[in-house]
Symmetry: C2
Amino acid sequence: MTDAENFVDELVVDFEPLGRRARVAPGATLLEAARQAGVGLNAICGGAGTCATCRVRVVAGEVTPPTEAERDVVAEGLRLACRTRVLSDVRVDVPPASITAPQRAQIEGRELPVELDPAVRTFDVAADPPSLTDLRADATRLREALQEQHAVDVSRCDHGALCQLPALLRESGWRVRLVVRDGEVIAVAPVGTSPLGLAVDIGTTKVAAYLVDLESGETLAASGRMNPQIAYGEDVMARIDYAMDGEAQARELQQAVVAGLDELTRELCEQAGRATAEVVEAVLVGNTCMHHLVLGLPVEQLGLAPYVPALAYSYDLKAQELGLSLAPGASVHLLPNIAGFVGADHVAMVLATGIHDTEDITVGLDIGTNTEISLAVDGRLLSCSCASGPAFEGAHIHDGMRAAPGAIEWVRLVDEADSGAPRVEYQTIDGAPPVGICGSGVLDGVAELRRVGILRENGAMQPGSHPRVRGTGSETEFLLVPAGEQDALRDVVINRRDVNEIQLAKGAIRAGIDVLLEEAGLEEEQIDRVVVAGAFGTYLDVDSALAVGMFPQLPRDRFVQVGNAAGMGAKLVLMSRRCRAIAREIARRVEYVELTTHPHFVEVYTAALMLP
Amino acid sequence: MTDAENFVDELVVDFEPLGRRARVAPGATLLEAARQAGVGLNAICGGAGTCATCRVRVVAGEVTPPTEAERDVVAEGLRLACRTRVLSDVRVDVPPASITAPQRAQIEGRELPVELDPAVRTFDVAADPPSLTDLRADATRLREALQEQHAVDVSRCDHGALCQLPALLRESGWRVRLVVRDGEVIAVAPVGTSPLGLAVDIGTTKVAAYLVDLESGETLAASGRMNPQIAYGEDVMARIDYAMDGEAQARELQQAVVAGLDELTRELCEQAGRATAEVVEAVLVGNTCMHHLVLGLPVEQLGLAPYVPALAYSYDLKAQELGLSLAPGASVHLLPNIAGFVGADHVAMVLATGIHDTEDITVGLDIGTNTEISLAVDGRLLSCSCASGPAFEGAHIHDGMRAAPGAIEWVRLVDEADSGAPRVEYQTIDGAPPVGICGSGVLDGVAELRRVGILRENGAMQPGSHPRVRGTGSETEFLLVPAGEQDALRDVVINRRDVNEIQLAKGAIRAGIDVLLEEAGLEEEQIDRVVVAGAFGTYLDVDSALAVGMFPQLPRDRFVQVGNAAGMGAKLVLMSRRCRAIAREIARRVEYVELTTHPHFVEVYTAALMLP
């Protein structure tokens, strides 16, 4: 050690769970570090300490003490990145809600600690080379060495692994690592190679994948991308229609998602400096339709009452059968589905959030085009699905768009001190010039318009209630951004029909919650906890959701947003056979409640359409 | 019934195991019936009752009593087809040796009766259709129905079968037939469809296949064809060399044989009026190299000492993994190999001939380019392999050819009453003009040349010993057919080098037998039975083989020729799980004797080269 090394020029800041790293001078703010690391932290106020959107959790290391501006966030165990300066190497946890949309590839989620116990196990084996007095076949030789050296019996060697066996044995001097799964040797690798696992959440819109080292349990890489099936229809019904056009079309859908998974796997393996052929197990979750489409199962019956799946129980098959390019003997595990519209992704979400195992009365929601809801009470698990529609993804909205740069993702109407009309504040993704509005922006907008009295309870927009309200009747609209402001190329508005779309969407979710409560004989005040997960659920503003009546009016601290819980559930199942068994148990226990035929649904739904 | 039907105009003659039928007038000979049915019975004398080559067994029905010419064959339970006239409908069994070569597609073999107990079982199941109060998934519904209606538990439904399930259930009104194998539903079919099985013997030269109804045990069709890999090399070593050229070449070999199997399956299914998608299980046997090539396993190590297989134990995989076009969930079973040059086909042969289970001291041989030999004594099974070479298939012989029309398949030197030089008699396949000589013809020729003293013990041809002997030294040759005789386009000869090839081939076989006897501490007279099977073994003349010293000098009645015993073994294993277990037990029990490194082999081999 030289003297020079006692002077610290550079500190390391690690951002998790994104896995990004910055090297900064002592005294730099976490926001500066985040920018350097390419972590897109929210910062509406530009780092002035006033908007409180750059919240992070300091997990390890030394930083400057909290400032007055951070009083509220410190109470939540958080800090404002723009107010916090690093004094040593630091590890920072970035909550999903603090990240701007393009980086919110729906791959973040709260990780539960889990004891590593994957379905595959590895054993290093040294075999005697064959000789004239020992003519045992390669497979027999290895099987017997495995028995002698590890007391492990296998009944089979996978065909793909078998094909690689003779060359690898001879190249390695008869010392190899065997990957064993369920009594079968599924892969053979050089000694020292840790087996990889892949956990994937196949959403209707997005696919999130995690590459896990199955020996250390470490997540080596995570990434998300669009589901390539999007080209064949935005929602589940459009895909079912397409698949029903013929066998070729159904095959096309299957191959599209498999090609997407292959690309994602290549990308993750490149990031981790590993080979796709080292991935020996994949766990897939998705809604029932995505589950069926990736398996190449018919989906026709999912589109027709009574909407029964072809397959509900958990399923294992070879990656090769799906056409996935992993290790030749790799297997794929699919979690069980519950019903036609409550799929394996919801099971994974319940597992990851621990809803099935809580004493609290808990509502868990996975909000998307289709929203799955579970209610846990006294050991019971009631689940339903409601068609919340694509409004939260920016579809069917006048100026709606996906969460992409230039989308307005945050809206506030700020009361002016001089008692003029409330001023419009907003944030676009990446701070780009406004081009449209994404789901969370529309929800915020509707909540704010209602809060300041521009919208009536029934959603009607009151002419003259604000200078930005223009038009009449069903043509009434609110001007969010006039063309030219912040370089906007055109006006961005929220109109009467947009409000209506949000009412239908949030009403469906609320009605689902209410019907489950009714089935369980509960009042809404009895709910201890509401766990919000999924694509949109992660990034919505809970206050806005409460303001429009999407959720029961409960204290804010009963709500928790957990990120991509389905993906986290897939990872748990990848890493733990115990979790795999629990997932099966969850699916078995769930009491499915069909909303469309529920006697009170229409009544409950109608009431839920109102804005409080 | 009308009066006219009391008068029989036509009798039906069924030829087995070929499955051919003739309709003839009462009093027609069996030879006439055979010609009408297209059964190529041998008949050197043209039906004059003198050559005794048209031997058949009358299994059922009434025929004329034996004639004086049949005295010897009747003692063996046979009749001469040319001397036997039909008096009623008749069923006739045709021994392989009585059939001319082109029909000897190596698909005939002695069938052992076996209790039908295939690996697949079928169950008819009626399920309740789904309703709003019964939303079980299709797969769950069927699994539960199977449990309720047949007390059968399955843990899995094959992916291919699962893909067909939803449509078939709905088309069939929720009544289907499930094919179950080892706790897995592997196929779903309309009620009433019997599952099919395929037994295949993949020879280096020829492939023989049998289509079996797995519900009745009936063989619906049988067929043989060349192994398409022949285009890549005639023998095992040539194929190993080709496969070692690269992965693409190895894949080419695998795909060639799979394409051939697919064609054969289509042909068999067409014959039986069934669909290839109804074949739910295939059993494959072959020598170790064919076994590895069809599985796509590396063969490099089979070509290098100590010649160990990659895989020896019995193996099950999905037909899909091999690229075979059977039922989507069909499985393939491969019998165990014993060593690099004693393969699954020999295990099947031992099984089919019952050698493993006899009190007699028995030698079983499967003669081909490579000859596998087993010796059963006191519950022991000793096996070896010897490189008998391709001479018996007509290769490396001056005028050699495969057993095809125009090949001389039978040679006799007949002593003339007037004590002139023995006269040459021969038969060509199909009676076509002679164009060459096939393996059995060369063997006959050498045996006869030795018998009449033209050849010395060491194989030298004695100039001047017969008018047909011409040339000198190593160029000496015997003129079998002069150009022009019987429309022969050119001379057909047997030369000194041909004799030498036969000496090497038969010497290898004899040395193999002798080494096994030595290992077991036996004298050759103690052998109770010699079972001869395989391509060439079925059609060789045992007397000629004895004359050249290929076999120990035992009484003729200790020899039995059993046809394609490997194919029969495959069929047994297809039809019976018990036989499958026995095959595993046989492979386990065999004591493999490596000849190339045996201390006495060279000595024994040298002695075996002599002509007695």
